[in-house]
C-alpha cells in the first residue's frame, strides 16, 4: 500500500473536520442519537446480533451514505473497512450504490469507490499490526472519518486456545486492538462501527466466560452475553442489538440502540431492499 501525504496534511488540526464529523452519525441514525449532546466525533458503536439480522447490510448502508457524493445525499467522506471473516461482498455494495444514485454510470460509481478502502485480516495479531500500520493512512487522509471492523469477534475461539490457560494471555491481543482503536478514534476524530457476533447463549449454565458479568436489567429482552475482553467493553459507547422477526410472513428487522452511559434505549425497524437498508418507523 503506497501512502502519499504531504507534511501539511499530516499536521492538519483535527477540529478542521469536526463539522463533517458531527454530521455523519446524525443522518445515519436519524432519531437514535439525536438526543445526546456529545456529538459523535470520536465515537465507538458496537453492532451485536445473531446471524442473518442485517448487521453487514447496515454497514453497507453506512458506507454508501458516506461515500456517495453530496449531490446524491452522501457525505463525500472516506471509509476504511476491515474485514476479518471474508464476508464483504463488493457486488452487493455496488448494487446498493447503483440503486441510490440518480444516474448510475460507471464513472460515478468508480469515484465513490475511490473513497472506499478495504483491508482483510485473518488473525488478531494481523489485525493489530494492520491497525498500527494504518495510522499513517489516517494521518494522510483527513477526510477518512469512518472506520468499520466486521467483525471483531471472528478470532475469539482461536485466540482463546492460543492463549493457553491464562485468560489474560487469551485476551491480550484483542485488548491491545481495543486500546489502539480507542487511540485512533480519539486522535483522528473517527467514528468506529464494530460488529460482534452473538456466539454465546444467554443461559448461565454454559461454558466459562473470561469476562465478568456485565449484564444489565435492560438486557433482559435481548439475547446478549458479554464475552469479549473488558478493554473492549469499556471503550464501547453505544451498543446496538439487531434481531429479526422470525415469523415467515414478515421480513422486518429491528435494532435496539443503547447509549451505555445514559442508558437510553431506542428501537427502530427496517427492511432490506435492493437499495439496502430502509428504515420503516421511528419509535421514540
Amino acid at each position: 500500500m503506497l501512502l502519499e501525504f504531504s507534511a501539511r496534511e499530516l499536521w492538519a488540526p483535527p477540529c478542521v473536520c469536526e463539522t463533517a464529523q458531527s454530521r455523519i452519525a446524525l443522518p445515519i441514525m436519524p432519531v437514535t442519537l439525536r438526543n445526546t449532546r456529545d456529538c459523535f466525533s470520536c465515537d465507538i458503536l458496537e453492532f451485536h446480533g445473531p446471524e442473518g439480522t442485517g448487521k453487514t447490510e447496515m454497514l453497507y448502508h453506512l458506507t454508501a451514505r458516506c461515500i456517495l457524493p453530496k449531490s446524491e445525499g452522501g457525505l463525500e467522506v472516506e471509509v476504511l473497512f476491515i474485514d476479518t471473516d471474508y464476508h464483504f461482498d463488493m457486488l452487493r455494495l455496488v448494487t446498493v450504490l447503483e440503486h441510490r444514485l440518480s444516474q448510475s454510470c460507471e464513472e460515478v460509481v468508480k469515484r465513490c469507490l475511490g473513497r472506499f478502502f478495504l483491508v482483510y485480516c485473518s488473525s488478531s495479531i494481523q489485525l493489530l499490526l494492520t491497525l498500527y500500520s494504518l495510522e499513517a493512512m489516517f494521518c494522510g487522509h483527513p477526510s477518512l472519518r469512518l472506520l468499520i471492523v466486521d467483525s471483531l469477534s471472528a478470532f475469539y475461539w482461536i485466540d482463546r486456545v492460543n492463549g493457553g490457560e491464562s485468560v489474560n494471555l487469551q485476551e491480550s491481543t484483542l485488548k491491545k486492538c481495543s486500546q489502539f482503536l480507542e487511540k485512533l478514534v480519539k486522535e483522528y476524530r473517527l467514528v468506529l462501527f464494530a460488529t460482534t457476533q452473538s456466539i454465546m447463549r444467554k443461559t448461565s449454565h454454559l461454558r466459562e466466560g473470561p469476562s465478568s458479568a456485565f449484564t444489565h436489567p435492560s438486557d433482559a429482552g435481548v439475547d446478549y452475553r458479554p464475552y469479549l475482553c473488558k478493554a473492549w467493553q469499556q471503550v464501547v459507547k453505544h451498543r446496538i442489538f439487531f434481531s429479526k422477526d422470525d415469523s415467515k410472513t414478515s421480513n422486518q428487522f429491528s435494532l435496539v440502540s443503547r447509549h451505555l452511559k445514559s442508558n437510553n434505549l431506542k428501537k427502530h425497524f427496517f427492511i432490506i431492499g435492493e437499495s439496502g437498508v430502509e428504515f420503516c418507523s421511528y419509535v421514540s
Binding site: D89, L91, V161
Partner: protein, 216 residues
C-alpha cells in the same frame, strides 16, 4: 451407496452399467480409480467417462485429515498445477458435520477453535483462490422448543455466506423423489424463496404458490 446404476449421470444407461460390471467396475469409486483409457476402449465409452474423471474424491474422516486435504489443495491450486482434468473450480465437503460434531460439546474450547480454523481454510479457498465451496450440514432440534435448526451451533452459523435448506416435499401429490430447496441466508438475494426439485429427473417443478410474489 456409490453403486453404479442407470441414470446416475447423463449417458449412464443400463447397457453401460452392465458393460462396466463385466469389467469388475461396480461402484463410483471403482470407476474413478480405474484406468479410464483402457475401460473406454474396451467398453466403447466416449467422453462420458472423462466427465467422471474430473471428480476427485478425497476421504477425510477427522478434522486433521480434512485440514491437511484442504491445505494440500490450496498449495496445488496456488502453484497452478493442473492435472489431466484441468484446474479445480468447485470444492464439495460432504459433510462438515461429520468431522466437526465430535469436537463440540462439553467445555472444550479446542473443538470450537478447530472448527473456526476449518472455516478459515474454506473461506480462504473461496475468496483468495476463487473456488466455489459447497458444504453440507445436518439439522438438529433445539433443546427447549424442539424447533429444527442447522447443526454446529451459533459460531458456525456465521461462516457460510449462503444457506439453502433442503427438505423432503410434503403434501398431497408429493412423490418420493421430490425435494424442496429454500433460501434461508444470502448476501444478495431476499430470503424465503423456495423451489421444488425432482431428484429423479433433476428438473424443477412449479414454484411454491405462497411465495410467487417474491422477487427472485
Amino acid at each position: 451407496m456409490g453403486l453404479l446404476r442407470a441414470g446416475l449421470c447423463p449417458g449412464l444407461t443400463q447397457d453401460v452399467v452392465q458393460l462396466l460390471r463385466g469389467r469388475g467396475i461396480r461402484t463410483v469409486v471403482d470407476l474413478v480409480s480405474a484406468d479410464l483409457e483402457e475401460v473406454a476402449q474396451k467398453c466403447g465409452l466416449s467422453y462420458k467417462a472423462g466427465a467422471l474423471q474430473r471428480i476427485q474424491v478425497v476421504h477425510a474422516f477427522d478434522i486433521f485429515q480434512m485440514l491437511d486435504a484442504l491445505q494440500d489443495l490450496r498449495s496445488t491450486v496456488a502453484q497452478q498445477v493442473s492435472g489431466s482434468s484441468g484446474t479445480v473450480k468447485v470444492v464439495v465437503v460432504d459433510s462438515v458435520t461429520a468431522v466437526v460434531s465430535p469436537l463440540l460439546g462439553g467445555q472444550q474450547r479446542e473443538g470450537l477453535a478447530l472448527m473456526m480454523q476449518l472455516a478459515q481454510e474454506l473461506k480462504t479457498l473461496a475468496r483468495d483462490l476463487g473456488l466455489a465451496v459447497v458444504v453440507t450440514n445436518h439439522m438438529t432440534r433445539e433443546r427447549d422448543s424442539g424447533k429444527l435448526k442447522p447443526a454446529l451451533g451459533r459460531s458456525w452459523s456465521f461462516v457460510p455466506s449462503t444457506r439453502i435448506l433442503l427438505d423432503t416435499g410434503e403434501g398431497a401429490g408429493a412423490s418420493g423423489s421430490q425435494r424442496t430447496a429454500c433460501l434461508i441466508k444470502s448476501p444478495r438475494l431476499p430470503t424465503g424463496f423456495q423451489e421444488t426439485v425432482d431428484i429423479g429427473t433433476w428438473g424443477t417443478l412449479k414454484q411454491s404458490p405462497a411465495l410467487q410474489g417474491h422477487p427472485t
